[in-house]
């Protein structure tokens, strides 16, 4: 005899994560949390982070500001600390050496940004075409930015070596100039470009990645509509690709500008600021004042000036970026 009754399956519902957490919470703790408002619980969770932030960011910043008005030197703990007011700020802003290093920094930032943005966008545009083997080449292009700047600085020092360095031999091969007849790191004219070249080699892939994200975010239907309207590729690029990718490009420029404004490691390894002071960027000057001359008060003032400069410029730039995004 066949049983026509529908079969029934009894399933025990799996407790959700929240329910499991509630079960695991000791009763006393659960009771006290239950009495808290949502805002209080939110504060409870973010307090450790805020404390950490205060300890490692805000407190040093306030202390640095305070030190910048004194003659304090970290290597002379027994010397009396005298309040010097705005003297350090005045000295820094009227020092020809500081202005020289700021100009070196500005030239370095502008040159690297222009090169990296153009190259990065071009590479992203090529990779976006999804040609055969593009995945492999993307990985190859990304390799330099995965290396440590210390490693990059050291091996480019060898590459640039005029007698045994590969770079000079490659230039010699293509131009016929004897390899030992020029020196990338020791020449006043060439050394800034030597650093720009290494920085661009390392960080163009980073700009490329951000631009690629921008290009991939443009919906295909816009191009399809343009095709229907018989817009040329050139016009599509200027009226669709570039404007829609612009916020991403501007973001990449912002990141690279901030990074290169405080560039230290690679310049230090490649030239140490030389020859003479040709490549002495602001961060190298700051390091010398703070940790070699031990003028802690003076270098604190210098650090504050650099911080305000970067912060101010970045804010102006972010406002411009928001305007572009809003269009």
């Amino acid at each position: 005899m066949q049983d026509d009754r529908p079969s029934m399956t009894v399933t025990t519902p799996t407790p959700s994560l929240a329910e499991r957490a509630a079960t695991a919470t000791p009763a006393t703790l659960a009771r006290s949390i239950r009495g808290l408002s949502d805002r209080a619980i939110a504060w409870l969770f973010i307090t450790p982070t805020i404390l950490l932030l205060l300890a490692i960011n805000i407190f040093p910043l306030i202390w640095t500001i305070q030190l910048s008005f004194t003659n304090y030197r970290a290597n002379r703990p027994n010397a009396p600390v005298i309040d010097v007011g705005l003297q350090h700020y005045q000295d820094i802003l009227t020092s020809p050496d500081v202005w020289a290093s700021m100009q070196v920094t500005a030239r370095f930032v502008i040159a690297t940004i222009v090169i990296q943005t153009i190259l990065g966008f071009m590479l992203a545009w090529l990779i976006d075409k999804k040609w055969r083997g593009h995945g492999f080449w993307t990985t190859v292009i990304l390799l330099p930015m995965m290396l440590s700047p210390a490693v990059v600085g050291n091996f480019w020092t060898f590459l640039y070596q005029p007698q045994i360095g590969l770079f000079n031999y490659v230039v010699s091969f293509f131009t016929g100039i004897p390899p030992s007849s020029f020196q990338m790191l020791g020449d006043v004219t060439l050394s800034p470009w030597a650093i720009v070249l290494v920085d661009s080699w390392m960080w163009t892939p980073y700009v490329m990645l951000i631009c690629l994200a921008g290009l991939r975010s443009i919906p295909d239907y816009i191009y399809e509509a343009a095709e229907v309207d018989r817009a040329s590729k050139w016009r599509q690029f200027w009226t669709i690709t570039l404007p829609m990718a612009l916020p991403f490009i501007m973001l990449a420029v912002l990141f690279r500008a901030i990074e290169n404004f405080k560039m230290f490691d690679m310049v230090n390894l490649l030239t140490g600021g030389g020859p003479g002071s040709t490549t002495e960027v602001a961060s190298i000057t700051l390091k010398r004042e703070a940790f070699e001359k031990w003028r802690t008060g003076y270098s604190s003032a210098f650090a504050i000036i650099l911080f305000v400069t970067v912060f101010g410029l970045a804010n102006i730039y972010v406002k411009a970026l928001n305007k572009v995004k809003a269009r």
Binding site: N75, P275, G276
Partner: protein
């Protein structure tokens, strides 16, 4: 009475034994630069451990990072080093900031006579303020900036003939800075053994102290002085006098005419590399490296010669190198560290120190009539140490040094401005530092 004396003697012996026992098994750390003499010191210190039971640990830092690393250690009152062989220029700062312990009482108690050491090394490595009997270190490693040359290239008949035809004198160790440059010019670009060689390896390093040490070897013989001997910190006419300007111009011309390609940021190691690889006819470097170079299988032995930094006219001068050994005031092992100093100061240990490749400063070794023949560079070392000059050893030595590094590198390597302009700017920088220190008004 006898019983009391016996009891006191027994107590004394037991206390002495207890002291010995407490030292046994302890470990002290000695900090220095990583270079050839440091290896000799490791070897030498085995005798100290065998004698006292105190183990030795060593912290050696490469020269380019040595000052940064060790001064940071001292400034942070670190306990890494019990003993520190610190550079001569650190003595002022280390004494005034309380990093080193003063050794006068210890010397007096242990019968260590500072007069047993060569006067230049006592002034350079141990005294602060200079010229006063306040000792913060025991002279440990005498050193000066000298020269090596390729004896085999100098002796070569063709080189001799060509040189004589050009300069009308034998190709020999230079007697003046001018002769040194002529020899460097002669070898620059010359083919030797089918290879292009260069004149001289000199110091041009920007980051630490390289170009300052190098240029001083030219400035001193040409007439540079740090200050008016009669009026401390008065630098006008001494730092930028005609002799100093000529010396700086000379160093730049030597750099431009006669160094290997790419030699714009070179210090001791780059010099050693250039010399050992047979690239240069002459090399400026510290005497400390000469024992190792003499033993080098490729360029050592009969192929290498040594000479003291040549004078110019009647003036002579070599840059002082070398270091004294100090006890770090933050060390928890002060007694054992002092024990090491006492042991190290003994004439027998100093004799062995020289034999192993360290440069003793002890007169008992240096004044021995046989000393000049103990090594091919021994006689030159004595001469050089008799005419050394040192950079400022003020507590503010670092800003003073960095200012000179910048001004000299800007002029010599980066081709900016004039020699007079560079030295004038240097006086302005130094005056600013001394003003901040309250040394000048």
């Amino acid at each position: 009475m006898n019983k009391i004396a016996t009891a006191l003697a027994a107590l004394g012996v037991s206390l002495a034994l207890t002291g010995q026992a407490s030292a046994q098994g302890k470990t002290i750390t000695l900090c220095w630069a990583a270079w050839d003499p440091a290896n000799a010191l490791v070897e030498l210190s085995k005798d100290f451990t065998a004698k006292t039971g105190v183990n030795m640990k060593f912290e050696f830092v490469p020269w380019p990072n040595y000052a940064d690393r060790m001064l940071n250690e001292l400034n942070s009152k670190g306990k890494l080093c019990d003993l520190l062989i610190g550079d001569s220029q650190w003595i002022g700062g280390s004494a005034e900031n309380g990093h080193y312990i003063k050794l006068n009482d210890f010397f007096a108690k242990e019968g260590i006579k500072i007069d047993d050491f060569m006067p230049a090394t006592v002034t350079g490595y141990a005294e602060w303020p200079k010229g006063t009997p306040n000792y913060w270190a025991l002279p440990a490693m005498g050193d000066a900036l000298g020269w090596t040359y390729r004896k085999d290239w100098f002796a070569d008949a063709k080189n001799q003939a060509d040189f004589k035809a050009k300069y009308n004198r034998d190709l020999a160790v230079p007697k003046s800075q001018t002769e040194l440059k002529q020899i460097a010019e002669f070898f620059q670009g010359r083919e030797i053994g089918g290879k292009k060689v260069y004149g001289a390896a000199i110091f041009t390093e920007r980051g630490s102290e390289g170009i300052t040490m190098g240029v001083n070897n030219a400035l001193y013989p040409f007439g540079f002085d740090y200050q008016d001997p009669k009026k401390p910190y008065a630098m006008e006419g001494f730092v930028n006098g005609p002799g100093a300007v000529a010396g700086l111009e000379f160093y730049k011309s030597l750099f431009k005419c006669c160094t290997p390609p790419g030699y714009t940021n070179a210090y001791m190691q780059e010099g050693l590399d250039a010399f050992k690889s047979g690239q240069v006819a002459m090399m400026m470097n510290w005497f400390a490296f000469f024992p190792g170079l003499h033993k080098d299988p490729n360029v050592g032995g009969d192929k290498i010669g040594f000479f003291v930094n040549p004078g110019e006219g009647s003036r002579k001068g070599s840059q002082l190198g070398g270091q004294g050994i100090s006890v770090v005031s933050y060390s928890p092992n002060r007694n054992e560290s002092l024990q090491y100093i006492k042991w190290f100061a003994s004439p027998d240990v100093q004799k062995k120190w020289w034999a192993l490749g360290g440069y003793t400063c002890h007169k008992s070794v240096l004044n021995d009539p046989g000393f000049p023949k103990t090594a091919p560079f021994a006689a030159d070392f004595l001469v050089a140490m008799g005419e050394v000059k040192d950079f400022w050893a003020e507590p503010s030595y670092a800003p003073l040094l960095l200012a000179m590094q910048k001004r000299i590198h800007d002029y010599v390597v980066a081709d900016q401005g004039t020699a007079k302009g560079a030295l004038d700017a240097l006086i302005a920088d130094w005056t600013k530092v001394f003003k901040e220190d309250g040394k000048v008004k």
